[in-house]
C-alpha cells in the first residue's frame, strides 16, 4: 500500500483483530454475568477499532496536521471573532478543582465554582448594561432560543399570547429565523436601507399589536453600527414588543456602547467569540444571556443566589421560569476561560480590545484601498467600519473572471484562512472580513498584499485561482456528490 493511500484511511480501517490500547483495571469482585438477563444483552460487541496506543496517537496527530488553525495562522473569518486563545485559560480550566468537579456536588462544597459563575454573571451584566444574567445556554443559537422563549413567556404572562411575530432584518444570521420557528413564532423580515441599517419605514409598517420582539445584531453582519438604534428601540417598544440583541458582534463595542443603554431587553453573548473560548473546530461554545428587569422573572432554572453572608447556592424555585434549556449549570469550562480573560484584561483591557479590533479592521480596509484592491472588491456599505467589513466580489467576478470562492481558495495557497464568504446574503459575492484585535500590523499588511497579488495574478490568468488550491492536503471537493449520495460512516 502506498503512503498516499494510507493517508486517508480511517481509524476503523487500521489495526488488527486482538489489538488494544485499553487494559481494564483489576477484576476485584466476583463475576456477575447473571446480573444482566440475557434478553437485555448485546449479542455482538460494537465493531470499534482494534488498535494499539501508538497507532492511535499517530493516527490522530497526523489528522491534526491536516487542519488550519488559529495558533498557526491568520484566520479573518467574519462574524466569528477568531482572536487569540490564551494558553493560561487552558491551564486554569484544567485545574482539578474546576475540571474534575462533579456537576451535582453539594453547592456547599462547590463554592469556588459558584462564586466564579456569580462573578462572571456580574461582569457580563456590566458589559451588557442589563442587570440579570443566566449562563446556561450552550451556544449563541441556544441563547437566542432562550431569548425568544423568554419573550413568549413575558407576553403570555401579560395576557398577550397573540404577539407571535418576530421582526428580523434581512441581514440576520440564519440562526435568528431558525430559532423563531423552533420557538413557535413567526418571522417577519425587515428591509435594509441604503446605509446598511434597518429601514425605519418598513419597521414602522410592520411593528404592531402582533409584534413579539425585534431581533437585531448591532453592529450588524455588514459591520455597520445602526445609527438609528434609539429610534428603532422606541418604535418596537411603542408597539409593545421586546428587543433582542444578538451579541455575536460584541467584540466591537465592549466598554463603548451597551445594549441595555440602547433599550434592549435581552442580549446573548458568544463566549467563544468576544471572550476567547477556543472554537475547538466547531464547538464547544457558550451563549449566556443578560436581561432587563421585566424579563427576569422568566429566566431559566436553576439560578445562582448569594446570601448576605456571601454563601452561594443554586436555586430553582422561580414560579414563572420557562424551565431548563439543558442539563446542569451550563458549559462551566468555558466560564472559567472567559472569566480568566475578563480578569486578565479588566475594564480598560476590554475597551482596548474593542478599540483595537475596530482600528485593525479599518486599517486593513485602508490598506486594501491603497493597494487598489477596493476597485475590484469595493466596501459594500459606508466609508468606515466597526470590527469587520463586507466587500463585494461582484466587480471582481465581472472584470477579472474569478469568483469570491476562487479568491478564497487561492488564499489557502498563500497560507491564510479565507474570510467568511457568501454571507451576508444580500451582498453580491460577499466577503466578510474580521481581523480581530490580536493581529499585528505586519500580518494585516501581508494579508492585504496577498489579496492584491491574487487579483494581479487573476488579471493575468484567471484559471490559476479558478483551480486553486494546489498546496492543501486535498483540493476542491465534490460537495454536490457528497449530498446526493451520502456516505456518512465508514463501511465495515
Amino acid at each position: 500500500m502506498t503512503v498516499r493511500a494510507e493517508e486517508t484511511l480511517t481509524i476503523f480501517q487500521k489495526g488488527s483483530p486482538g489489538r488494544r490500547a485499553f487494559v481494564a483495571p483489576e477484576f476485584d469482585v466476583p463475576e456477575a454475568t447473571d446480573a444482566l438477563p440475557r434478553r437485555f444483552r448485546r449479542a455482538e460487541p460494537p465493531r470499534l477499532p482494534e488498535v494499539s496506543e501508538p497507532e492511535l496517537v499517530r493516527h490522530y496527530v497526523r489528522l491534526s496536521k491536516k487542519n488550519f488553525d488559529l495558533d498557526s495562522g491568520f484566520y479573518p473569518l467574519g462574524s466569528c471573532t477568531m482572536k487569540h486563545n490564551p494558553r493560561l485559560h487552558e491551564r486554569v480550566a484544567a485545574l482539578p478543582g474546576h475540571a474534575r468537579l462533579h456537576p451535582l456536588q453539594d453547592p456547599a462544597r462547590a463554592q469556588g465554582a459558584l462564586e466564579l459563575m456569580w462573578n462572571l454573571e456580574r461582569a457580563l451584566a456590566e458589559v451588557a448594561g442589563l442587570p440579570h444574567v443566566s449562563l446556561q445556554p450552550s451556544a449563541g443559537s441556544h441563547g437566542e432560543l432562550a431569548g425568544v422563549l423568554l419573550t413568549k413567556a413575558y407576553h403570555a404572562d401579560r395576557g398577550e399570547p397573540h404577539r407571535v411575530k418576530v421582526l428580523t432584518p434581512d441581514t440576520a444570521h440564519g440562526t435568528n429565523p431558525a430559532t423563531v420557528t423552533m420557538a413557535g413564532l413567526e418571522v417577519v423580515k425587515v428591509a435594509t436601507n441604503d446605509d446598511g441599517g434597518v429601514d425605519l419605514d418598513d419597521l414602522r409598517a410592520k411593528a404592531g399589536d402582533d409584534t413579539a420582539c425585534l431581533m437585531l445584531t448591532n453592529p450588524n453582519t455588514l459591520g455597520v453600527f445602526d445609527a438609528n438604534i434609539e429610534e428603532i428601540a422606541s418604535i418596537v417598544h411603542r408597539a409593545g414588543g421586546t428587543l433582542y440583541y444578538d451579541g455575536a458582534n460584541t467584540n466591537a463595542v465592549m466598554g463603548i456602547s451597551r445594549p441595555g443603554d440602547m433599550g434592549f431587553d435581552i442580549v446573548h453573548f458568544n463566549l467563544h467569540k468576544s471572550f476567547t473560548q477556543p472554537h475547538g473546530g466547531g464547538g464547544p461554545g457558550s451563549g449566556p444571556i443578560a436581561v432587563s428587569d421585566r424579563i427576569e422573572p422568566f429566566l431559566m432554572n436553576p439560578r445562582i443566589a448569594r446570601s448576605d453572608e456571601g454563601v452561594f447556592d443554586l436555586v430553582s424555585d422561580h414560579a414563572k421560569s420557562i424551565g431548563r434549556l439543558r442539563g446542569f449549570q451550563g458549559n462551566y469550562g468555558t466560564f472559567v476561560r472567559s472569566y480568566a480573560y475578563i480578569r486578565s484584561l479588566g475594564a480598560e483591557g476590554l475597551k482596548d480590545a474593542s478599540e483595537t479590533a475596530v482600528l485593525n479592521a479599518n486599517y486593513l480596509l485602508a490598506r486594501l484601498r491603497q493597494l487598489g484592491v477596493a476597485e475590484h472588491l469595493p466596501l459594500a456599505f459606508g466609508e468606515l467600519c466597526m470590527h469587520e467589513f463586507v466587500l463585494s466580489g461582484g466587480p471582481m467576478k465581472r472584470e477579472l473572471k474569478i469568483r469570491t470562492l476562487d479568491l478564497a481558495k487561492r488564499l489557502l495557497d498563500h497560507g491564510y484562512h479565507p474570510p467568511t464568504v457568501y454571507f451576508p446574503l444580500l451582498v453580491d459575492e460577499a466577503l466578510l472580513i474580521e481581523p480581530t484585535e490580536t493581529e499585528t500590523r505586519e500580518t494585516l499588511d501581508a494579508f492585504a498584499e496577498a489579496l492584491a497579488e491574487i487579483l494581479r495574478e487573476a488579471a493575468d490568468d484567471p484559471t490559476v485561482a479558478q483551480n486553486a488550491p494546489y498546496s492543501t492536503p486535498v483540493r476542491r471537493l465534490d460537495e454536490a456528490g457528497a449530498a446526493k449520495r451520502p456516505v456518512l460512516r465508514q463501511a465495515l
Binding site: 490500547a21 493560561l88 456537576p103 420557528t181 431548563r324 472569566y339
Partner: protein, 456 residues
C-alpha cells in the same frame, strides 16, 4: 496595549494616517451616536498579570471539592471515568483546539475525518445507521429529538417515561412549550416504566413521539423493546442512552428505537462541573434529512482523492433559515473528538471488558450496601452501573456525615426532585472494591448514627 494586542504608538500613528482619521475615538464618534455611548469606564476590576489571574483561579478551584479530593459515587448523568492521557494531549493540540467550524474543507480534513469517524463509532455503538457530528449535550439532545418528531409527523402529544432524567424532562417541556407539544409523563413501577400505564398513554393517533431512558434515572435497565412495541404507527421512538454500558447492553437499533440520543461526557470528557461535553444523536435512515446539527460525509476531490466535507447542509439554518430542521450551528467538535478517541482507545473488546467490570462491581456494591441496617434497594430491577437505595435516615445528613469521612456516597434524589429518602450510587472503573467496602463502612456508620440521633 494589553498583552494580547500589539499596537505600539508608532503603529498607531501609521494606522490612523492610512485610515485618514486623527484618533481611535474619531472612528467611534463617526459611527456610534453619542447618546448610546457609555461615557465612563466599565465598572470591573482592573486587569491582572498572568500569574495573578492564575493564583485567583487556583484559589477558586481549591474551594471546590472535586473527585480527586474524596471517594465519589456521584453520577446521574455525568460520571467520573478515567480519561486516558492521550486524550488530554490530543484535545489540547492547537490544530484541534483553535480552528473554527470546517467551512473550508481543503484545510480542515483532520477535523472532518474525525467527525466521520465519530459518526461511525456512534453508529456502531447504537446499531443505528446514521449519526450527526454531535449536539450540545444530553438533555437538550432529547428536546431536539422532540423537535425532529414534531417536524416529521406534526403531532402534538409526547409520551415520556418518568425514568428520564428530570433535567431531560424539564428541557423537553421547555422546548415543547415553544414548538407546541404537550408532554404526558408515565410513572415508574418498582423502578421501571409502568408498562400498562405506558400502553394506555401510547394509545391514540395524536402521539408524535415516545421517550425512554436506558438505564433510567434510578439506574434500572428498562425493557426498551417492550416499550417501543407500544408505540403507535408513525410516532417516533426516542431513547436516551448511557453510552458506557453499550458494550454489554442490547443496542437501541435492535430494540425498535428510531432516534437514540445521549450525554457523551462519560466518553473521554471531563466532568467540568457539567460542561462542555457533547450530546450524541443517531437515527434510522428515515430521519436522516430531519436531523439537527452538522454531518460530515465522504467524497472525492478533483484529483479523485478521498476527502470529507460537511454535507446535507440544506437542513441547516444558514441555508434554510426559518425552515431549518434546527437552529443549531455549533457541534461540540472538540468534545466529540474526545469521544471518538476514547471509543477507539477502549476498542472492540475493551468496551465489553469495561461493561462487565462495571456490572460486577455494581452488583457487588448493591449487595454489600443493601446488607447494611437501615439501607435497602429502592427497586429490584437489573442495574449495570448505578442503583438507587432507600435510607431509613435523613439522606442529606447521612451524606454530610460520609463527606466528613472523605466519601461522597452519591446523590440525594431530592436534589433532582425525586424520592426524598433516596440515594443514587454510581460506579465507575475508578471505584475499586476497596472503595466500595470503605463506602459500606462509612454509610453504615452514618445511617446508624442518624437513626440513633432520632431514637434519642
Amino acid at each position: 496595549m494589553s498583552r494580547y494586542t500589539a499596537v505600539t504608538s508608532e503603529d498607531l500613528r501609521a494606522m490612523l494616517d492610512a485610515i485618514g482619521v486623527g484618533s481611535v475615538e474619531e472612528l467611534f464618534d463617526r459611527q456610534i451616536p453619542v447618546s448610546v455611548r457609555l461615557g465612563r469606564a466599565l465598572d470591573l476590576p482592573a486587569g491582572m498579570a498572568e500569574q495573578d489571574v492564575y493564583a485567583h483561579l487556583d484559589d477558586l478551584a481549591r474551594r471546590n471539592v472535586s473527585v480527586e479530593d474524596e471517594i465519589s459515587f456521584l453520577g446521574a448523568g455525568m460520571y467520573d471515568h478515567y480519561v486516558p492521557a492521550l486524550i488530554d494531549m490530543l484535545m489540547s493540540r492547537s490544530e484541534f483546539l483553535t480552528p473554527y467550524t470546517p467551512y473550508q474543507p481543503e484545510v480542515s480534513q483532520g477535523n472532518l475525518q474525525v467527525m466521520f469517524e465519530y459518526q461511525t463509532a456512534i453508529s456502531e455503538l447504537t446499531a443505528l445507521p446514521v449519526s450527526n457530528a454531535s449536539v450540545y449535550e444530553g438533555p437538550s439532545a432529547v428536546a431536539s429529538a422532540g423537535y425532529l418528531a414534531r417536524l416529521a409527523n406534526g403531532r402534538s402529544r409526547f409520551v415520556a417515561s418518568a425514568g428520564l432524567h428530570p433535567h431531560s424532562l424539564d428541557t423537553l417541556r421547555t422546548y415543547a412549550e415553544g414548538f407546541g407539544a404537550e408532554v404526558v409523563e408515565v410513572g415508574l413501577r418498582d423502578g421501571a416504566t409502568d408498562l400498562d400505564a405506558w400502553a394506555d398513554a401510547c394509545a391514540g393517533d395524536d402521539v408524535g413521539a415516545v421517550f425512554v431512558q436506558q438505564p433510567n434515572v434510578l439506574g434500572a435497565v428498562e425493557d426498551v423493546e417492550a416499550l417501543m412495541a407500544s408505540k403507535p404507527d408513525g410516532a417516533v421512538g426516542i431513547a436516551a442512552y448511557d453510552p458506557i454500558p453499550l458494550g454489554i447492553l442490547k443496542p437501541p437499533g435492535e430494540c425498535g428505537v428510531d432516534v437514540c440520543v445521549g450525554e457523551g461526557q462519560p466518553l473521554g470528557n471531563r466532568l467540568d462541573f457539567g460542561g462542555p461535553s457533547f450530546g450524541f444523536f443517531a437515527a434510522t435512515e428515515a430521519y436522516l434529512r430531519r436531523m439537527p446539527g452538522r454531518i460530515a460525509g465522504e467524497t472525492t476531490d478533483i484529483d479523485g482523492k478521498r476527502g470529507f466535507v460537511l454535507t446535507l447542509q440544506t437542513r441547516e439554518q444558514h441555508i434554510r433559515r426559518e425552515k431549518a430542521t434546527s437552529n443549531i450551528c455549533t457541534a461540540q467538535a472538540l468534545n466529540a473528538l474526545g469521544g471518538v478517541v476514547y471509543l477507539a482507545w477502549l476498542g472492540r473488546q475493551g468496551i465489553v471488558d469495561l461493561g462487565e467490570l462495571l456490572l460486577a462491581r455494581t452488583d457487588y456494591a448493591r449487595r454489600t450496601l443493601t446488607a447494611l441496617d437501615g439501607v435497602e434497594a429502592l427497586h429490584d430491577q437489573p442495574v449495570v452501573r448505578e442503583f438507587a437505595l432507600r435510607l431509613d435516615a435523613p439522606v442529606g445528613r447521612v451524606i454530610e456525615r460520609c463527606a466528613a469521612e472523605g466519601v461522597n456516597p452519591g446523590l440525594a434524589l431530592s436534589r433532582i426532585g425525586l424520592d426524598d429518602d433516596g440515594l443514587l450510587v454510581a460506579i465507575t472503573e475508578r471505584r475499586s472494591r476497596a472503595d466500595i467496602d470503605r463506602l459500606a463502612d462509612v454509610l453504615g456508620a452514618a445511617v446508624a448514627a442518624e437513626r440513633q440521633a432520632v431514637a434519642a
